[in-house]
Protein backbone atom coordinates (compact mmCIF):
# COMPACT_ATOMS: atom_id res chain seq x y z
CA UNK A 1 0.00 0.00 0.00
CA UNK A 2 1.35 3.43 -0.92
CA UNK A 3 1.96 5.89 1.89
CA UNK A 4 -0.76 8.26 0.66
CA UNK A 5 -3.23 5.40 0.69
CA UNK A 6 -2.18 4.32 4.20
CA UNK A 7 -2.63 7.87 5.43
CA UNK A 8 -6.01 8.34 3.73
CA UNK A 9 -7.24 5.15 5.38
CA UNK A 10 -5.86 6.09 8.79
CA UNK A 11 -7.54 9.48 8.55
CA UNK A 12 -10.81 7.68 7.81
CA UNK A 13 -10.50 5.41 10.86
CA UNK A 14 -9.58 2.37 8.76
CA UNK A 15 -6.20 1.14 9.91
CA UNK A 16 -4.20 -0.91 7.41
CA UNK A 17 -3.04 -3.92 9.43
CA UNK A 18 0.31 -3.68 7.66
CA UNK A 19 1.31 -0.60 9.69
CA UNK A 20 1.87 -3.01 12.59
CA UNK A 21 4.49 -5.10 10.80
CA UNK A 22 5.61 -3.62 7.47
CA UNK A 23 9.39 -2.99 7.51
CA UNK A 24 8.95 -0.16 4.98
CA UNK A 25 6.57 1.63 7.33
CA UNK A 26 9.08 1.15 10.14
CA UNK A 27 11.91 2.54 7.99
CA UNK A 28 9.82 5.64 7.41
CA UNK A 29 9.02 5.91 11.14
CA UNK A 30 12.75 5.84 11.91
CA UNK A 31 13.43 8.68 9.52
CA UNK A 32 10.40 10.88 9.94
CA UNK A 33 8.96 10.09 13.36
CA UNK A 34 11.60 8.99 15.84
CA UNK A 35 14.17 11.39 14.39
CA UNK A 36 11.79 14.32 14.67
CA UNK A 37 9.75 13.87 17.82
CA UNK A 38 10.73 14.38 21.44
CA UNK A 39 11.99 11.07 22.76
CA UNK A 40 12.05 10.31 26.47
CA UNK A 41 15.45 9.24 27.78
CA UNK A 42 15.48 9.34 31.56
CA UNK A 43 14.16 11.04 34.67
CA UNK A 44 16.49 13.23 36.71
CA UNK A 45 15.85 11.12 39.83
CA UNK A 46 17.56 8.19 38.09
CA UNK A 47 20.87 10.07 38.21
CA UNK A 48 20.72 11.93 41.54
CA UNK A 49 24.47 12.29 42.20
CA UNK A 50 27.29 13.99 40.35
CA UNK A 51 28.72 11.45 37.91
CA UNK A 52 25.64 9.22 37.84
CA UNK A 53 24.68 8.05 34.38
CA UNK A 54 22.22 5.84 32.54
CA UNK A 55 22.45 4.68 28.93
CA UNK A 56 19.29 4.92 26.85
CA UNK A 57 18.39 4.58 23.18
CA UNK A 58 16.40 6.33 20.51
CA UNK A 59 15.74 3.43 18.15
CA UNK A 60 19.32 2.37 17.35
CA UNK A 61 21.23 5.38 18.68
CA UNK A 62 22.66 4.95 22.17
CA UNK A 63 22.95 7.98 24.44
CA UNK A 64 24.63 8.52 27.80
CA UNK A 65 22.55 10.67 30.13
CA UNK A 66 24.76 11.87 32.95
CA UNK A 67 24.95 14.32 35.84
CA UNK A 68 27.93 16.66 35.45
CA UNK A 69 30.06 18.20 38.17
CA UNK A 70 27.74 21.17 38.60
CA UNK A 71 24.72 18.85 38.76
CA UNK A 72 23.73 19.75 35.20
CA UNK A 73 22.47 17.00 32.91
CA UNK A 74 24.36 16.01 29.77
CA UNK A 75 23.17 13.86 26.90
CA UNK A 76 25.89 12.57 24.57
CA UNK A 77 25.92 10.04 21.77
CA UNK A 78 27.55 6.84 23.03
CA UNK A 79 29.99 6.62 20.12
CA UNK A 80 33.70 7.33 20.04
CA UNK A 81 34.64 10.03 17.53
CA UNK A 82 37.61 7.94 16.40
CA UNK A 83 36.32 4.55 15.21
CA UNK A 84 32.74 4.63 16.40
CA UNK A 85 33.10 2.25 19.32
CA UNK A 86 30.43 2.41 22.03
CA UNK A 87 32.38 4.05 24.83
CA UNK A 88 30.05 3.01 27.65
CA UNK A 89 28.81 -0.54 27.71
CA UNK A 90 27.11 -0.45 31.11
CA UNK A 91 23.46 0.50 31.48
CA UNK A 92 24.03 2.62 34.55
CA UNK A 93 26.75 3.67 36.95
CA UNK A 94 28.83 6.59 38.15
CA UNK A 95 31.79 7.94 36.21
CA UNK A 96 33.50 11.26 35.64
CA UNK A 97 35.10 9.98 32.41
CA UNK A 98 34.49 7.35 29.77
CA UNK A 99 37.43 5.64 28.13
CA UNK A 100 36.98 3.92 24.79
CA UNK A 101 38.14 0.30 25.11
CA UNK A 102 39.58 0.33 21.58
CA UNK A 103 42.31 3.03 21.53
CA UNK A 104 41.72 4.62 24.94
CA UNK A 105 40.36 7.95 23.79
CA UNK A 106 38.96 9.42 26.97
CA UNK A 107 36.02 11.78 27.37
CA UNK A 108 34.63 13.67 30.33
CA UNK A 109 31.01 12.89 31.08
CA UNK A 110 30.07 16.26 29.60
CA UNK A 111 31.44 14.99 26.28
CA UNK A 112 34.79 16.83 26.14
CA UNK A 113 37.63 14.77 24.66
CA UNK A 114 40.43 14.99 27.20
CA UNK A 115 42.70 12.08 26.42
CA UNK A 116 44.19 10.80 23.15
CA UNK A 117 47.10 8.39 23.69
CA UNK A 118 50.39 9.44 22.06
CA UNK A 119 48.67 12.65 20.99
CA UNK A 120 52.04 14.27 20.16
CA UNK A 121 53.66 11.26 18.50
CA UNK A 122 50.60 10.09 16.60
CA UNK A 123 49.02 13.37 15.58
CA UNK A 124 51.60 16.04 16.22
CA UNK A 125 49.62 17.39 19.15
CA UNK A 126 46.78 19.88 18.97
CA UNK A 127 48.17 21.33 15.77
CA UNK A 128 47.56 18.02 14.03
CA UNK A 129 44.41 16.98 15.83
CA UNK A 130 42.35 19.38 17.89
CA UNK A 131 40.78 17.54 20.82
CA UNK A 132 38.49 20.47 21.57
CA UNK A 133 36.89 20.09 18.15
CA UNK A 134 36.08 16.42 18.76
CA UNK A 135 33.78 16.09 21.75
CA UNK A 136 31.15 13.37 21.91
CA UNK A 137 28.18 14.44 19.85
CA UNK A 138 24.98 15.68 21.39
CA UNK A 139 21.47 15.63 20.00
CA UNK A 140 20.38 19.02 18.63
CA UNK A 141 17.83 19.48 21.38
CA UNK A 142 17.61 18.31 24.97
CA UNK A 143 14.88 19.54 27.29
CA UNK A 144 12.99 18.34 30.31
CA UNK A 145 9.53 18.54 31.76
CA UNK A 146 8.92 17.78 35.45
CA UNK A 147 12.26 15.96 35.55
CA UNK A 148 11.58 13.87 32.43
CA UNK A 149 14.57 14.38 30.12
CA UNK A 150 13.85 14.23 26.40
CA UNK A 151 15.99 14.60 23.29
CA UNK A 152 14.99 15.55 19.78
CA UNK A 153 17.20 14.72 16.80
CA UNK A 154 15.52 17.30 14.56
CA UNK A 155 17.33 20.64 14.49
CA UNK A 156 14.02 22.27 13.48
CA UNK A 157 12.04 20.68 16.32
CA UNK A 158 9.35 22.66 18.10
CA UNK A 159 10.18 23.20 21.78
CA UNK A 160 9.24 20.38 24.15
CA UNK A 161 6.72 22.51 26.05
CA UNK A 162 4.98 23.32 22.79
CA UNK A 163 5.00 19.68 21.66
CA UNK A 164 3.42 18.52 24.93
CA UNK A 165 1.09 21.50 24.99
CA UNK A 166 -2.07 21.04 27.02
CA UNK A 167 -1.19 17.43 27.79
CA UNK A 168 0.98 18.93 30.55
CA UNK A 169 -2.20 19.73 32.49
CA UNK A 170 -2.78 15.98 32.80
CA UNK A 171 0.87 14.91 33.11
CA UNK A 172 1.07 17.07 36.23
CA UNK A 173 -1.52 14.86 37.90
CA UNK A 174 1.02 12.03 37.64
CA UNK A 175 4.29 13.95 37.97
CA UNK A 176 3.54 16.93 40.18
CA UNK A 177 1.70 15.65 43.22
CA UNK A 178 3.90 17.98 45.24
CA UNK A 179 6.51 20.57 44.41
CA UNK A 180 9.19 17.92 44.99
CA UNK A 181 7.99 15.95 41.95
CA UNK A 182 8.35 12.21 41.52
CA UNK A 183 11.18 9.76 42.01
CA UNK A 184 11.51 6.72 39.78
CA UNK A 185 12.44 3.09 40.32
CA UNK A 186 13.46 1.02 37.37
CA UNK A 187 13.15 0.40 34.59
CA UNK A 188 12.13 -3.16 34.07
CA UNK A 189 13.06 -3.95 30.48
CA UNK A 190 11.66 -6.69 28.30
CA UNK A 191 11.14 -7.38 24.64
CA UNK A 192 7.83 -8.30 23.15
CA UNK A 193 7.16 -9.37 19.59
CA UNK A 194 4.70 -6.62 18.86
CA UNK A 195 4.67 -3.31 17.05
CA UNK A 196 5.30 -0.30 19.30
CA UNK A 197 2.15 1.55 18.24
CA UNK A 198 -0.25 -1.01 19.66
CA UNK A 199 0.69 -0.26 23.26
CA UNK A 200 0.81 3.48 22.64
CA UNK A 201 -2.72 3.42 21.19
CA UNK A 202 -3.97 1.20 23.97
CA UNK A 203 -2.74 3.47 26.77
CA UNK A 204 -4.00 6.56 24.92
CA UNK A 205 -7.63 5.58 24.97
CA UNK A 206 -8.65 1.96 24.88
CA UNK A 207 -11.12 1.88 27.75
CA UNK A 208 -13.13 -0.58 25.64
CA UNK A 209 -10.64 -3.43 26.18
CA UNK A 210 -10.50 -3.14 29.94
CA UNK A 211 -13.65 -5.04 30.98
CA UNK A 212 -12.75 -8.06 28.87
CA UNK A 213 -8.96 -8.22 28.57
CA UNK A 214 -8.60 -7.48 32.27
CA UNK A 215 -11.56 -9.51 33.50
CA UNK A 216 -9.21 -11.71 35.51
CA UNK A 217 -8.05 -8.93 37.80
CA UNK A 218 -11.64 -8.05 38.62
CA UNK A 219 -12.45 -11.75 39.14
CA UNK A 220 -9.79 -11.99 41.85
CA UNK A 221 -10.69 -8.67 43.48
CA UNK A 222 -7.37 -7.00 42.65
CA UNK A 223 -9.14 -4.04 41.09
CA UNK A 224 -12.68 -2.92 41.74
CA UNK A 225 -13.01 -0.47 38.84
CA UNK A 226 -12.68 -1.97 35.34
CA UNK A 227 -16.16 -3.41 35.17
CA UNK A 228 -18.00 -2.37 32.01
CA UNK A 229 -20.17 0.27 33.67
CA UNK A 230 -17.29 1.86 35.57
CA UNK A 231 -15.17 2.11 32.48
CA UNK A 232 -17.70 3.75 30.21
CA UNK A 233 -18.53 6.42 32.80
CA UNK A 234 -14.98 7.67 32.61
CA UNK A 235 -13.98 10.48 30.26
CA UNK A 236 -11.53 10.17 27.39
CA UNK A 237 -9.54 13.28 26.61
CA UNK A 238 -7.08 14.39 23.97
CA UNK A 239 -5.10 17.54 24.62
CA UNK A 240 -2.03 18.87 22.84
CA UNK A 241 0.56 16.15 22.45
CA UNK A 242 -1.47 13.19 23.61
CA UNK A 243 -4.51 11.78 25.29
CA UNK A 244 -5.70 9.47 27.99
CA UNK A 245 -8.43 7.79 29.94
CA UNK A 246 -10.02 8.56 33.28
CA UNK A 247 -12.25 6.83 35.77
CA UNK A 248 -15.35 8.46 37.22
CA UNK A 249 -15.09 8.69 40.96
CA UNK A 250 -18.14 8.76 43.24
CA UNK A 251 -19.42 12.31 43.88
CA UNK A 252 -17.69 14.24 46.62
CA UNK A 253 -15.14 16.94 47.13
CA UNK A 254 -11.47 16.91 46.23
CA UNK A 255 -10.32 15.27 49.45
CA UNK A 256 -12.89 12.49 49.06
CA UNK A 257 -11.79 11.86 45.49
CA UNK A 258 -8.14 11.61 46.49
CA UNK A 259 -8.97 9.38 49.46
CA UNK A 260 -11.18 7.19 47.25
CA UNK A 261 -8.15 6.04 45.28
CA UNK A 262 -6.09 5.51 48.42
CA UNK A 263 -3.87 8.54 48.92
CA UNK A 264 -3.30 9.51 52.57
CA UNK A 265 -4.61 12.95 53.68
CA UNK A 266 -1.15 14.52 53.85
CA UNK A 267 -0.60 13.75 50.16
CA UNK A 268 -4.01 15.21 49.29
CA UNK A 269 -2.96 18.42 51.00
CA UNK A 270 0.22 18.64 48.93
CA UNK A 271 -1.71 17.93 45.72
CA UNK A 272 -4.08 20.75 46.56
CA UNK A 273 -1.10 23.05 46.98
CA UNK A 274 0.61 21.87 43.79
CA UNK A 275 -2.39 21.76 41.45
CA UNK A 276 -4.24 24.64 39.81
CA UNK A 277 -7.91 25.19 40.71
CA UNK A 278 -8.81 23.60 37.33
CA UNK A 279 -6.72 20.51 38.03
CA UNK A 280 -8.34 20.19 41.45
CA UNK A 281 -11.79 20.69 39.94
CA UNK A 282 -11.24 17.94 37.37
CA UNK A 283 -10.58 15.46 40.15
CA UNK A 284 -12.89 16.94 42.78
CA UNK A 285 -16.06 18.53 41.37
CA UNK A 286 -16.02 16.84 37.95
CA UNK A 287 -14.85 13.57 39.52
CA UNK A 288 -12.47 12.28 36.85
CA UNK A 289 -9.29 10.52 37.98
CA UNK A 290 -6.56 9.98 35.40
CA UNK A 291 -5.75 6.40 34.48
CA UNK A 292 -3.73 5.56 31.33
CA UNK A 293 -2.32 8.13 28.90
CA UNK A 294 0.10 8.42 25.98
CA UNK A 295 2.30 11.36 25.02
CA UNK A 296 2.83 11.10 21.28
CA UNK A 297 4.45 9.10 19.98
CA UNK A 298 5.64 6.41 22.42
CA UNK A 299 5.66 7.48 26.05
CA UNK A 300 2.80 6.31 28.23
CA UNK A 301 1.63 6.72 31.81
CA UNK A 302 -0.62 4.72 34.04
CA UNK A 303 -2.32 5.37 37.37
CA UNK A 304 -4.38 2.66 39.05
CA UNK A 305 -5.42 1.78 42.56
CA UNK A 306 -5.55 -1.94 43.35
CA UNK A 307 -5.96 -3.83 46.60
CA UNK A 308 -2.61 -5.13 47.76
CA UNK A 309 -3.78 -7.01 50.83
CA UNK A 310 -6.99 -8.48 52.18
CA UNK A 311 -9.68 -5.90 52.90
CA UNK A 312 -11.25 -3.04 50.98
CA UNK A 313 -8.40 -0.54 51.05
CA UNK A 314 -6.80 0.36 47.74
CA UNK A 315 -3.34 1.77 47.09
CA UNK A 316 -2.57 3.93 44.05
CA UNK A 317 0.53 3.66 41.92
CA UNK A 318 2.00 5.54 38.97
CA UNK A 319 4.00 3.97 36.19
CA UNK A 320 5.83 5.43 33.20
CA UNK A 321 6.21 3.36 30.06
CA UNK A 322 8.43 3.76 27.03
CA UNK A 323 7.49 1.74 23.93
CA UNK A 324 10.94 1.65 22.40
CA UNK A 325 10.87 0.29 18.87
CA UNK A 326 13.33 -2.43 17.95
CA UNK A 327 11.87 -3.33 14.56
CA UNK A 328 8.47 -3.32 12.89
CA UNK A 329 7.57 -6.43 14.87
CA UNK A 330 9.50 -6.05 18.11
CA UNK A 331 9.31 -3.54 20.94
CA UNK A 332 11.39 -3.10 24.03
CA UNK A 333 9.19 -2.10 26.92
CA UNK A 334 10.79 0.05 29.62
CA UNK A 335 8.60 0.37 32.67
CA UNK A 336 9.27 2.58 35.68
CA UNK A 337 7.51 2.96 39.00
CA UNK A 338 7.04 6.59 40.01
CA UNK A 339 6.01 8.07 43.33
CA UNK A 340 5.94 11.52 44.84
CA UNK A 341 9.25 12.22 46.58
CA UNK A 342 7.44 13.63 49.60
CA UNK A 343 5.18 10.61 50.06
CA UNK A 344 5.48 8.83 53.42
CA UNK A 345 7.86 5.82 53.31
CA UNK A 346 5.05 3.37 54.13
CA UNK A 347 3.01 4.72 51.22
CA UNK A 348 5.99 4.43 48.86
CA UNK A 349 6.44 0.78 49.84
CA UNK A 350 2.75 -0.03 49.38
CA UNK A 351 2.54 1.85 46.10
CA UNK A 352 5.56 -0.04 44.77
CA UNK A 353 3.90 -3.30 45.75
CA UNK A 354 0.75 -2.20 43.91
CA UNK A 355 2.83 -1.48 40.79
CA UNK A 356 4.56 -4.87 40.87
CA UNK A 357 1.25 -6.69 41.23
CA UNK A 358 -0.38 -4.84 38.31
CA UNK A 359 2.09 -3.64 35.67
CA UNK A 360 5.51 -4.37 34.26
CA UNK A 361 7.10 -7.74 33.55
CA UNK A 362 5.12 -9.66 36.14
CA UNK A 363 2.08 -7.39 36.39
CA UNK A 364 -1.27 -9.10 36.36
CA UNK A 365 -2.87 -6.42 34.16
CA UNK A 366 -0.01 -6.27 31.76
CA UNK A 367 0.37 -9.98 31.06
CA UNK A 368 -2.89 -10.28 29.19
CA UNK A 369 -2.30 -7.16 27.08
CA UNK A 370 0.93 -8.45 25.63
CA UNK A 371 -0.61 -11.73 24.59
CA UNK A 372 -3.07 -9.77 22.42
CA UNK A 373 -0.50 -7.40 20.98
CA UNK A 374 1.96 -10.06 19.86
CA UNK A 375 -0.88 -11.86 18.13
CA UNK A 376 -2.04 -8.71 16.27
CA UNK A 377 1.50 -8.08 15.06
CA UNK A 378 1.94 -11.65 13.92
CA UNK A 379 -1.39 -11.83 12.09
CA UNK A 380 -0.77 -8.49 10.33
CA UNK A 381 2.20 -10.01 8.49
CA UNK A 382 0.08 -12.38 6.43
CA UNK A 383 -0.29 -12.02 2.67
CA UNK A 384 -4.00 -11.56 3.23
CA UNK A 385 -3.83 -10.24 6.78
CA UNK A 386 -1.59 -7.35 5.78
CA UNK A 387 -4.24 -6.11 3.32
CA UNK A 388 -7.01 -5.94 5.89
CA UNK A 389 -8.30 -2.55 6.98
CA UNK A 390 -8.90 -2.73 10.73
CA UNK A 391 -11.87 -0.82 12.05
CA UNK A 392 -11.09 2.06 14.33
CA UNK A 393 -14.29 4.02 13.73
CA UNK A 394 -15.95 3.65 17.13
CA UNK A 395 -17.61 6.98 17.92
CA UNK A 396 -16.50 8.57 14.64
CA UNK A 397 -20.02 9.25 13.38
CA UNK A 398 -20.92 10.94 16.66
CA UNK A 399 -17.64 12.83 16.63
CA UNK A 400 -18.30 14.14 13.11
CA UNK A 401 -21.92 14.98 13.80
CA UNK A 402 -20.93 16.77 16.98
CA UNK A 403 -23.24 14.52 18.99
CA UNK A 404 -20.62 12.63 21.00
CA UNK A 405 -21.39 12.72 24.71
CA UNK A 406 -19.33 15.30 26.52
CA UNK A 407 -18.70 15.29 30.23
CA UNK A 408 -21.23 17.39 32.19
CA UNK A 409 -18.30 19.38 33.51
CA UNK A 410 -14.77 19.43 32.11
CA UNK A 411 -12.63 22.04 33.81
CA UNK A 412 -9.63 20.92 31.77
CA UNK A 413 -8.20 21.58 28.31
CA UNK A 414 -8.66 19.39 25.24
CA UNK A 415 -11.48 17.43 23.69
CA UNK A 416 -13.25 15.14 26.15
CA UNK A 417 -15.82 12.42 25.60
CA UNK A 418 -17.79 10.13 27.85
CA UNK A 419 -18.49 6.52 26.90
CA UNK A 420 -16.67 4.19 24.60
CA UNK A 421 -15.03 5.55 21.48
CA UNK A 422 -11.75 5.30 19.63
CA UNK A 423 -11.34 9.07 19.53
CA UNK A 424 -7.87 9.04 21.04
CA UNK A 425 -6.48 6.16 19.01
CA UNK A 426 -7.57 7.98 15.87
CA UNK A 427 -6.10 11.26 17.11
CA UNK A 428 -2.79 9.57 17.89
CA UNK A 429 -2.63 7.87 14.50
CA UNK A 430 -3.53 11.13 12.77
CA UNK A 431 -0.47 12.69 14.42
CA UNK A 432 1.50 9.66 13.26
CA UNK A 433 0.22 10.15 9.69
CA UNK A 434 1.12 13.86 9.72
CA UNK A 435 4.67 12.99 10.82
CA UNK A 436 5.09 10.34 8.14
CA UNK A 437 3.81 12.44 5.27
CA UNK A 438 6.18 15.31 6.04
CA UNK A 439 8.82 15.29 3.34
CA UNK A 440 12.51 15.37 4.08
CA UNK A 441 13.10 18.80 2.56
CA UNK A 442 13.70 20.59 5.81
CA UNK A 443 16.09 17.95 7.11
CA UNK A 444 19.48 19.17 8.06
CA UNK A 445 22.43 17.45 9.58
CA UNK A 446 20.86 16.05 12.70
CA UNK A 447 23.60 15.85 15.18
CA UNK A 448 25.69 18.85 15.95
CA UNK A 449 28.52 18.90 18.45
CA UNK A 450 27.57 20.79 21.53
CA UNK A 451 30.08 21.19 24.33
CA UNK A 452 27.44 21.15 27.00
CA UNK A 453 23.90 20.01 26.46
CA UNK A 454 22.35 20.97 29.74
CA UNK A 455 18.68 20.20 30.17
CA UNK A 456 16.56 23.01 31.46
CA UNK A 457 14.11 21.98 34.10
Amino acid sequence: MKLAEVIANVDAGRIPASIYSDPDVFALERERLFSRTWQFLAHDSEIPNVGDFVVRRIVDDSFIVSRGENSEIHVVLNMCRHKGMQICRAEAGNASHFRCPYHAWTYRNDGRLVGVPFHQEAYGGDGGFDKVAHPLLSPPHVASYRGLVFANLDPAAVPLDEALGDLRFFLDLYLHQSDAGVELRGPQRWRVRCNWKIGAENFAGDSYHTPHTHASVVDIGLFREPTASKRKEGALYFAGGGGGTTYKIPPGDFDHAIAHVGYPPEMAGRMRAAWTPEQQALVGEAGFMVSAATAFPNLSFVHNWPRIRAGDDVVPFISIRLWQPVSATETECLSWFAVDRNAPPAFKADSYKAYLMCFGTSGMFEQDDVENWTSITNVSRGALGSTVLLDSTMGMDRERAGTATRPAAWPAPGEAYVGYGEYNQRALLRMWARALEREDAERERRTVPLRVAAASS
Binding site: A90, E91, R185, Q188, W336, L356, S362, Q367
Partner: protein
Protein backbone atom coordinates in the same frame (compact mmCIF):
# COMPACT_ATOMS: atom_id res chain seq x y z
CA UNK B 1 33.85 -38.26 51.41
CA UNK B 2 32.65 -38.75 54.95
CA UNK B 3 29.61 -37.15 56.42
CA UNK B 4 31.70 -35.05 58.76
CA UNK B 5 33.57 -33.53 55.80
CA UNK B 6 30.36 -32.09 54.50
CA UNK B 7 29.50 -30.48 57.82
CA UNK B 8 32.23 -27.92 57.97
CA UNK B 9 34.11 -25.52 55.79
CA UNK B 10 37.44 -26.77 54.59
CA UNK B 11 40.14 -25.60 52.26
CA UNK B 12 39.62 -27.45 49.00
CA UNK B 13 42.69 -25.89 47.46
CA UNK B 14 44.99 -23.04 48.44
CA UNK B 15 42.95 -19.85 48.36
CA UNK B 16 39.66 -21.63 47.78
CA UNK B 17 37.37 -22.28 50.72
CA UNK B 18 34.44 -24.54 50.20
CA UNK B 19 31.41 -23.52 52.24
CA UNK B 20 29.82 -25.76 54.78
CA UNK B 21 27.51 -28.46 53.54
CA UNK B 22 24.97 -30.82 55.06
CA UNK B 23 24.81 -34.57 55.44
CA UNK B 24 24.04 -36.56 52.27
CA UNK B 25 20.57 -37.55 53.45
CA UNK B 26 19.56 -33.92 53.94
CA UNK B 27 21.12 -32.94 50.64
CA UNK B 28 19.18 -35.67 48.89
CA UNK B 29 15.96 -34.69 50.60
CA UNK B 30 16.33 -31.03 49.61
CA UNK B 31 17.31 -31.81 46.03
CA UNK B 32 14.29 -34.07 45.72
CA UNK B 33 12.10 -31.30 47.13
CA UNK B 34 13.34 -28.87 44.44
CA UNK B 35 12.63 -31.41 41.70
CA UNK B 36 9.16 -32.00 43.09
CA UNK B 37 8.49 -28.28 43.26
CA UNK B 38 9.59 -27.89 39.62
CA UNK B 39 7.20 -30.65 38.61
CA UNK B 40 4.27 -28.92 40.35
CA UNK B 41 5.08 -25.66 38.56
CA UNK B 42 5.60 -27.36 35.17
CA UNK B 43 2.26 -29.13 35.53
CA UNK B 44 0.56 -25.90 36.72
CA UNK B 45 -0.47 -27.52 39.99
CA UNK B 46 -0.21 -24.07 41.50
CA UNK B 47 -2.54 -24.62 44.44
CA UNK B 48 -0.29 -27.49 45.56
CA UNK B 49 2.74 -25.28 44.98
CA UNK B 50 1.25 -22.66 47.30
CA UNK B 51 1.05 -25.31 50.01
CA UNK B 52 4.85 -25.57 49.88
CA UNK B 53 5.24 -21.91 50.84
CA UNK B 54 5.61 -20.60 54.39
CA UNK B 55 3.02 -18.02 55.46
CA UNK B 56 5.76 -15.41 55.83
CA UNK B 57 7.40 -16.16 52.49
CA UNK B 58 9.27 -13.46 50.63
CA UNK B 59 9.70 -14.26 46.94
CA UNK B 60 11.92 -11.82 45.14
CA UNK B 61 13.50 -11.32 41.73
CA UNK B 62 15.50 -8.10 41.35
CA UNK B 63 15.99 -6.54 37.93
CA UNK B 64 19.47 -7.36 36.64
CA UNK B 65 21.36 -4.28 35.48
CA UNK B 66 24.47 -4.34 33.30
CA UNK B 67 27.16 -2.46 35.19
CA UNK B 68 30.93 -2.15 34.94
CA UNK B 69 32.94 -4.79 36.79
CA UNK B 70 33.32 -4.00 40.45
CA UNK B 71 30.32 -1.67 40.55
CA UNK B 72 27.57 -4.21 40.79
CA UNK B 73 26.29 -3.26 44.22
CA UNK B 74 22.54 -2.99 44.00
CA UNK B 75 21.50 0.51 45.02
CA UNK B 76 18.84 1.10 47.63
CA UNK B 77 15.45 1.39 45.99
CA UNK B 78 16.40 -0.54 42.85
CA UNK B 79 13.72 -2.27 40.79
CA UNK B 80 12.41 -5.82 41.05
CA UNK B 81 10.50 -8.08 38.72
CA UNK B 82 8.90 -9.75 41.74
CA UNK B 83 8.77 -8.83 45.41
CA UNK B 84 5.96 -11.01 46.66
CA UNK B 85 4.37 -12.08 49.87
CA UNK B 86 1.91 -14.88 50.52
CA UNK B 87 -1.06 -12.67 49.61
CA UNK B 88 0.22 -11.50 46.25
CA UNK B 89 1.46 -14.96 45.25
CA UNK B 90 -1.98 -16.29 46.18
CA UNK B 91 -3.65 -13.66 43.98
CA UNK B 92 -1.37 -14.54 41.08
CA UNK B 93 -2.29 -18.21 41.42
CA UNK B 94 -5.99 -17.39 41.78
CA UNK B 95 -5.82 -15.39 38.55
CA UNK B 96 -4.08 -18.15 36.62
CA UNK B 97 -6.66 -20.65 37.86
CA UNK B 98 -9.53 -18.54 36.51
CA UNK B 99 -11.05 -18.43 33.04
CA UNK B 100 -9.77 -15.02 31.94
CA UNK B 101 -5.98 -15.17 32.22
CA UNK B 102 -5.49 -15.07 28.47
CA UNK B 103 -1.74 -14.90 28.66
CA UNK B 104 -1.64 -18.55 29.78
CA UNK B 105 -4.57 -19.81 27.70
CA UNK B 106 -3.47 -21.83 25.79
CA UNK B 107 -0.87 -22.51 28.48
CA UNK B 108 2.86 -22.30 27.91
CA UNK B 109 4.60 -25.65 27.75
CA UNK B 110 7.23 -25.18 30.40
CA UNK B 111 10.02 -27.25 31.84
CA UNK B 112 12.22 -26.12 34.65
CA UNK B 113 15.65 -27.74 34.65
CA UNK B 114 17.03 -27.49 38.17
CA UNK B 115 20.70 -28.21 38.84
CA UNK B 116 23.87 -27.24 40.76
CA UNK B 117 22.12 -27.73 44.08
CA UNK B 118 24.15 -26.69 47.12
CA UNK B 119 22.74 -26.97 50.61
CA UNK B 120 24.16 -25.23 53.66
CA UNK B 121 23.03 -25.35 57.28
CA UNK B 122 21.72 -22.17 58.87
CA UNK B 123 23.31 -21.90 62.31
CA UNK B 124 21.02 -22.24 65.28
CA UNK B 125 18.08 -23.58 63.26
CA UNK B 126 16.98 -26.71 61.46
CA UNK B 127 16.55 -24.60 58.31
CA UNK B 128 18.83 -24.78 55.30
CA UNK B 129 20.02 -22.34 52.68
CA UNK B 130 19.73 -23.86 49.23
CA UNK B 131 21.39 -22.53 46.11
CA UNK B 132 20.37 -23.86 42.73
CA UNK B 133 20.33 -23.02 39.05
CA UNK B 134 17.12 -23.10 37.05
CA UNK B 135 16.70 -23.05 33.29
CA UNK B 136 13.14 -22.47 32.16
CA UNK B 137 12.17 -23.62 28.68
CA UNK B 138 8.90 -21.95 27.69
CA UNK B 139 7.10 -22.71 24.45
CA UNK B 140 3.94 -20.75 23.61
CA UNK B 141 1.58 -21.22 20.72
CA UNK B 142 2.28 -23.51 17.80
CA UNK B 143 4.93 -21.66 15.85
CA UNK B 144 6.74 -19.09 17.99
CA UNK B 145 10.36 -19.59 18.92
CA UNK B 146 10.61 -20.87 22.49
CA UNK B 147 12.01 -18.76 25.32
CA UNK B 148 14.85 -19.75 27.61
CA UNK B 149 15.14 -18.06 30.98
CA UNK B 150 18.25 -18.75 33.03
CA UNK B 151 18.44 -17.91 36.71
CA UNK B 152 20.13 -18.72 39.98
CA UNK B 153 18.15 -19.07 43.16
CA UNK B 154 18.97 -18.79 46.83
CA UNK B 155 16.24 -20.30 48.99
CA UNK B 156 15.63 -20.70 52.67
CA UNK B 157 13.83 -23.97 53.38
CA UNK B 158 12.25 -24.27 56.78
CA UNK B 159 12.09 -27.71 58.31
CA UNK B 160 8.59 -28.60 59.41
CA UNK B 161 6.90 -31.81 60.47
CA UNK B 162 7.12 -34.12 57.47
CA UNK B 163 9.10 -31.90 55.11
CA UNK B 164 10.13 -28.39 54.12
CA UNK B 165 8.45 -25.06 53.49
CA UNK B 166 9.91 -22.38 51.24
CA UNK B 167 10.43 -19.36 53.48
CA UNK B 168 12.48 -17.17 51.18
CA UNK B 169 13.52 -17.21 47.54
CA UNK B 170 15.89 -14.72 45.92
CA UNK B 171 16.13 -15.16 42.18
CA UNK B 172 18.99 -13.73 40.14
CA UNK B 173 17.86 -13.61 36.54
CA UNK B 174 20.66 -13.55 33.99
CA UNK B 175 19.05 -11.31 31.37
CA UNK B 176 19.01 -7.54 31.83
CA UNK B 177 16.36 -7.32 29.10
CA UNK B 178 13.93 -10.22 29.33
CA UNK B 179 13.19 -12.00 26.07
CA UNK B 180 10.15 -13.79 27.37
CA UNK B 181 7.00 -11.71 26.96
CA UNK B 182 6.08 -11.70 30.63
CA UNK B 183 6.68 -13.41 33.94
CA UNK B 184 3.37 -15.23 34.16
CA UNK B 185 5.37 -18.27 35.32
CA UNK B 186 7.17 -18.75 38.61
CA UNK B 187 10.81 -19.76 38.84
Amino acid sequence: MTTSDTHSSYVAAPGCTRPAGVDPATHHDVATWLTWEAQLLDERRLREWLSLLADDIRYRMPVTVTTARGTDARPEGAMDHFDEDRYSLGKRVERLEGDHAWTEDPPSRARRFVSNVRVAPIDGTDDVEVRSYVLLYRSRGDDRPADLVSAGRTDVLRRVEGGWLLARRDIVIDEAVLRTQNLALFL
